[in-house]
Amino acid sequence: MSVSKSFVCINRKAPYGTIYALEALEVVLIAGAFEQQVKLIFMDDGVYQLTRNQNPAGIGMKNFSKTFGALSDYDVDQIFVDSESLNLRGLDATDLQRLTHETNDAEERLSIKVVPRKELVDIIESADVLFNF
């Protein structure tokens, strides 16, 4: 018998300078592989993880931003981005990757939702388990 819990992973670190972003992704993939419900929050410097056109070849690192595209295969399709964090960093939704998933009736939906910070409260409160990176 398998037990499914609701996980929320809060990502607050920029990619590449530290290992947090990559580690968070590993944890999310493992949770997804074991059929847990996972939601992701990107806020503060975490919003930099989702920018388009990342190319870390010059700093000798793997471009793990490509892996976000596989999250829908892992049924991880609820990704919330704090709009305030974007604004304070001179970014907006168009600077982020376009991630999609399919609904049960094969309709394409966007996986990323940019939301005001106060909406994150309910998402955090809805979790059985919180992961912080």
């Binding site: 670190k13 920029a14 990619p15 590449y16 300078g17 530290t18 503060d44 410097d45 930099y48 920018t51 388009r52 056109n53 990342q54 190319n55 870390p56 010059g58 700093i59 690192m61 931003s65 304070l88 960093r89 001179g90 970014l91 600077d95």
Partner: protein
């Protein structure tokens, strides 16, 4: 001889860039590397302070490899910031008498 200041932490997470800017002499160079390159974009909490530093004559650089890694749009960097690559980093280190790393 002048000093090269390097900063490698995001200015939105730590105050190292702010501290650095407050302790730069007029002839100093500041190089943003690693996570600090996020401070090079326009319209952020730190952009005004960087622009003021540039206006005061301090030379501000950002490392291209780190900008590219993070997908930051080069067209939206703060005016006056110069992009350098690793070879340019070495040149800066050689041109200055010492390097101060703000961690």
């Amino acid at each position: 001889m002048a000093t090269l200041h390097t900063v490698n932490k995001s200015p939105f997470e730590r105050n190292s860039l702010e501290t650095c800017l407050s302790l730069c002499r007029f002839d100093a160079s500041v190089l943003l590397i690693e996570d600090a390159v996020v401070g090079a974009l326009q319209n952020t909490l730190i952009s005004k302070q960087i622009s003021e530093a540039v206006e005061s004559g301090i030379r501000v650089f950002a490392l291209n490899e780190d900008l590219e890694a993070r997908g930051l749009p080069l067209s939206r960097l703060i005016e006056g910031i110069t992009i350098v690559d690793y070879a340019g980093f070495v040149d800066l280190a050689a041109q200055n008498s010492k390097v101060q790393s703000w961690l």
